[in-house]
Structure formats: C-alpha cells, structure tokens
C-alpha cells in the first residue's frame, strides 16, 4: 500500500517535471495538473494510510483515518479546479494572440515598452 502510493506520487511528480520543461502551453497545463494531483495525494497520505476502515467514524471503536488532510485536500482541489480553468483560458488566448503555444517564445524585437 505504502509503496504503491509513494511510487504513484513519485511518477506523477516526475512526469509533471518532465512536461513542464517542455515549455509548451498544452504540456504545461498537463504538468500543472499532474503536480497538483501529486501534491493532493501526498497531503492525503500524510494522515496515515489505513486499509479497510470506515471513512469517518463508526458506531464501534473503529480505527478511522485522520480527517484533517481530507479537509485540506478538498480545499486544495477546489482551488486547483478554479486555477486550472483560468490557465486553460489564458493558454488559449495566449496561443491565439501570440501565434505560438511556446511559453518562452521569442521576445518581441522592439523590446519592452
């Protein structure tokens, strides 16, 4: 269980890091999603991984997982959802207006105003 979660997070971060270095809008959006997802999984696993228990509280004396990371992750997911929507719109506008989806595209020759 631990190995599985840990390697999932590791793979997500690795893939995210690779994609973000490609510096193209589409890849970067994917990368940000993967990185945020890895962060969420990471926070969730920090409450301790418990197998086969009730999600919140049982009637008997069950072992239950720490609720705080779940609350944190819920907040983080909501924030991430909004931000991702914003980035997608921004990327589309940038691609249309700049004519390239390279984030680090060639600088305007005239220099900054």
């Amino acid at each position: 269980m631990e190995i599985l979660v840990a390697s999932t997070i590791g793979i997500l971060v690795a893939a995210g890091t690779y994609l973000i270095l490609r510096a193209r809008a589409y890849e970067i959006i994917l990368a940000l999603l993967l990185l945020a997802h890895a962060g969420n999984l990471f926070v969730l696993s920090m409450g301790g991984l418990v197998v086969g228990s009730v999600p919140i509280l049982g009637e008997e004396d069950f072992v239950y997982p720490d609720p705080v990371p779940q609350a944190l992750v819920l907040t983080a997911i909501v924030i991430n959802f909004g931000v991702t929507a914003f980035v997608i719109v921004l990327a589309v506008r940038a691609a249309l207006q700049l004519g390239t989806d390279q984030i680090e595209g060639p600088r305007d020759e005239s220099g900054p105003q």
């Binding site: 940000l32 962060g39 705080v68 900054p112």
Partner: protein, 508 residues
C-alpha cells in the same frame, strides 16, 4: 476589540463582491467605493498598529474554535506594520488607477480588493494551510491584474508568471503535507512547539519541508535564483498594478521572517535558524543581480523592477542575520523600499507619455514637456531607492551595515552593499541622463500628455513617504526595534496563541 482583526480581510472581500454587483453602474460608483474602502483600510491599519504597539499579541479565533484546532488570526507588531504598508501602497495605487487605468480592462476594482484581502490575510493568519489559501487568493487576483490592459507583451509575461506561481503552489502544498505528517498540526505556534520535540527521522522530514517552504517564499519574494519572472512581469504590468505588486515581494519576505522565527526559530531544537545558511548567500546574490540588472536595463520599467529585486536582496540580508538590530534595520528598509518603488512605478508613466513613440525605452529621445518637475521627482526617487544621503534608503542601509559589524559574514555584506550601491547609482544616473538630459530635437507639443496634479499626486506622495520616514526615523525605528524583539523571541507569540485557549476569541 479583537474582532477588528478580521476586518482587513473581510472588508475588501465584501467590497469586491459589492463592486462586482455594481459593474453595470458608472465607473464612478466603483471608484468611490474602492477609494473609501482603501481609506477605511488605512484607518483600521493605523488603529491596529496602535493596538499592537501595546505589546500584547491579539488572537482572533475564527468561529471561536480554539487555537490548534481552528484557524486563528494573530496580530502582533510585525503583522500590524505590514498591514499599514499594504494599506498605504493600496491607497496610492488605487488613487492613480482611478484616473483611467481601471477602465483599461474589466473588473479592475473587484480584483484589486480581492488582492488586498489576500495580502492582508497572509499578513494576519496564524495557520500554515490558511496561509496557502490566502496565497491562492492573492495569486488569482494578481494573475488577472497582471494581464489588466491586455496586449501581447503583457500576455507573454503574465503566462510565465502564472505558470511559475502555480508550480510554487504545488510545492507549498507538498511542504504543508510534510510538516503536517511530521508534527500533526498546521498552526504556526503549535508547529513551533512541536519542532523542538521531534525525533531525528521526523526532524529530517521537517527539514525538507522547511527548505521547500523557503523555496516557495523565495519565489514570491523574487530571491535569486527564483527572480527570473519579476523584471519582465513587473516591467510589463500596468503601472498601478506594478505599484501594488511592490508589496507582493514583501509578502514573501514577511513569510520567511514569520515562519523561520516562529516555527524554525530558537525553539526548534536541531532545526533552529534553519534558513540562515541558505538565506544570506541567496540574498547577497539577489542584491548583486538586481543592481547589475538595473545597470543593464533597457527600459524604465525594467530599471525599477531590477531595483525592486535589489531591495529584496538588501532586505533579506538583514532578515538573514536574525538578530534584533538587523531585523530592526530590515523592517525600516522594508517600509522605505516598498513605498519608494511603488512610487517610482507610478512615476514612470507620466515620464513615458511625454516621450511619444519612445515610451520608457532608455535611449536619447525628444525633450520632455515638463523636464524640471518630472526630472526632480525621478531624482528624489532615485536618491531614495539607491540609498544616498539624506533620504531613508541611506538610513536603512547604514543600519543594516551597523548590525552586521563583527559577524563572520560582515566582509561579504559590507563589500556587497557598498559596491552594489555604486552600481545602482550608476544605473540610475544613466537612466536619468538618457531620459532627461541627452535629448535631441524639439519638444513635441503634447498638451494631452502634460502630467496633472492628479497623476503626479500618488507617486509623489509615495516617494514623499521617504522624506517622512527620514524625518520620523526615531519613532519608526523604536517601533521596528520593539517588533524585532517580538519576532526574535517567539515564546510570547506561541503562548498568546495556544495558552489562552477558547477565551482568546472573545473580546478582552
């Protein structure tokens, strides 16, 4: 009494929502609301400074949930000081923006208020995850404000800014997760208490979390090597937005000071003063790169952006020493550099407009319509920001140099600050020469571009704060010193948050 703590966050958030509803009304309604709100924030910040200056740390427990479980807002001298600065910069930027920039895109006013709410929240919160949330609030607002006014260059710079900050947010979340996993709490005071009692394995993980936090705050503060987004971003942003953003780098500096004293400060056992060995070299490098950049800048906006980076370097050199005199000097310098760079960002536009096609580019051009007025304003701002006597930049730098005397790193700090001071002086002189003196041809008749009192008022008021800071240096340094004492010894902070329990939420 403690209920007042929520107002700097709630008021702008509420006003922003109201302004959004009034979007179809004439812009005047939004402007009046915004200005009234900013003035109210300034009044509240002044009141909070007076409250904090009694030396008692006020705690407001949101929803009356006691400290380690619920989220608390904490007001100490440092928070109050930062709130006052944010209110001043906000008022100055908004007073400039209502002269036309707010209509260059949609929803300027609600976003501006949301930004202020996020900044104030970051200064007040006593909870690490809540800090993450306020960071997101101020980031989302800043993303939109950065793009305000549109245009290709802004879009390009804005995209880079957005992507970098989102990566920063992901790292922040991972750091928060690590610290929660190790300590089982996210309340700053409670974390501070837990850090001293960690086993070696936990301490190792906490160290990773701490360094990740340093990276995130460093990104926000534009600490080298995380500064690359700033010159283009701030150089391209609309002037009132760039001026407001002058306080944003200080949010990063504030978080470094707060987290690395309360959590990883004197009480953290083997993690004590964790940031110090990383922060000082990075701050020195920031100062060098900032001033070299100022020397090489090709436009006025870029020049001020690099001066802002240099000021962050100077500031963090002081904070990195984590001693009472150094933090005193750093806090004084922080107020000075924030206000003056914000003023300079605002001053650039009246100058650029009188140069026609050339705009802010640093090249010989036509003479300005009002060379004396604008020239002297720029001169005073440059004197203040570079740190030549008699203005506050000089006082701040002198105090930082004094506080470094006798330390092992004193040689590095002295050499860096004095040599980069020279670089900054040359950079500003070069810019002033090119813009005001090396002019060719006739002054073109541009009556529309003449800077009016309304356009020059906010920048001059902000730069004028430097004179005020110099004249009132005594009381301000006294306050900063009391602040530094409170910051360096976090036991009072921790006790105020944790030991009062549920009673802390009610007014005392």
């Amino acid at each position: 009494m403690t209920g007042l703590l929520i107002v700097p966050v709630a008021l702008p958030a509420f006003l922003g929502a109201v302004q959004l509803l009034l979007v179809r009304q004439s812009p005047r309604v939004q402007r009046l609301l915004g200005l009234a709100g900013s003035l109210a924030l300034l009044a509240i910040a002044l009141r909070l400074v007076a409250i904090a200056d009694t030396g008692v740390i006020r705690v407001y427990a949101i929803g009356d949930w006691p400290a380690p479980l619920g989220i608390v807002l904490v007001l100490d001298r440092l928070s109050a000081y930062m709130l006052l600065l944010a209110a001043l910069v906000g008022l100055g930027s908004l007073a400039y923006a209502v002269r036309g920039w707010d209509q260059a895109g949609r929803n300027f006013h609600p976003l501006f208020m949301l930004q202020l709410a996020g900044i104030n929240g970051a200064f007040l919160t006593g909870d690490l995850f809540n800090l993450f949330v306020f960071f997101e609030v101020l980031l989302i607002a800043s993303f939109c404000l950065m793009l305000h006014g549109g245009g290709k260059a802004r879009l390009r710079a804005g995209t880079i800014y957005v992507v970098l900050n989102l990566v920063g947010s992901a790292l922040f979340l991972i750091a928060v997760g690590l610290l929660y996993g190790v300590a089982g709490t996210l309340n700053l005071a409670d974390l501070g208490r837990a850090m001293g009692a960690l086993d070696p394995a936990g301490a190792g993980l906490a160290r990773i979390g701490a360094v990740l936090l340093l990276v995130v705050f460093g990104l926000k503060a534009a600490l080298v090597p995380l500064h690359l987004w700033l010159p283009e971003g701030y150089g391209e942003a609309a002037p009132p937005v760039a001026a407001l953003f002058a306080i944003m780098t200080k949010v990063g500096a504030y978080c470094i000071l707060r987290v690395f004293t309360v959590v990883f400060g004197p009480l953290a056992g083997e993690l004590s003063w964790l940031a110090q060995p990383w922060l000082l070299p990075a701050a020195l490098a920031t100062l060098w790169l900032g001033m070299l950049g100022a020397l090489a800048s090709r436009a006025l906006g870029e020049l001020v952006a690099f001066l802002l980076i240099a000021s962050v370097g100077t500031l963090l050199i002081a904070f990195a020493l984590f001693s009472v005199p150094a933090i005193t000097a750093g806090l004084y310098y922080l107020a000075h550099s924030t206000l003056v760079t914000a003023g300079l960002f605002l001053l650039l536009e009246p100058i650029s407009r009188q140069r026609g096609e050339l705009g802010g580019r640093l090249a010989p051009g036509p003479p300005l319509g009002q060379p004396h007025l604008l020239g002297w304003s720029f001169f005073v701002g440059a004197v203040a920001v570079v740190g030549i006597p008699p203005l506050s930049g000089f006082l701040g730098k002198t105090m930082i140099l004094q506080s470094a005397t006798g330390l092992d790193a004193a040689g590095w700090i002295y050499a860096t600050m004095l040599l980069t001071g020279l670089l900054g002086l040359i950079g500003c002189s070069r810019a002033g020469n090119l813009v005001f003196w090396e002019t060719a041809g006739e002054a073109e008749d541009r009556p529309a571009a003449a800077a009016t009192a309304g356009a020059l008022g906010p920048p001059l008021a902000l730069i004028g704060c430097s004179v005020l800071l110099t004249a009132a240096a005594g009381p301000i340094v006294d306050y900063a010193e009391a602040t530094a004492r409170q910051v360096v010894d976090p036991t009072c902070y921790i006790r105020a948050v944790l030991d009062e329990g549920p009673a802390s939420g009610r007014s005392r």
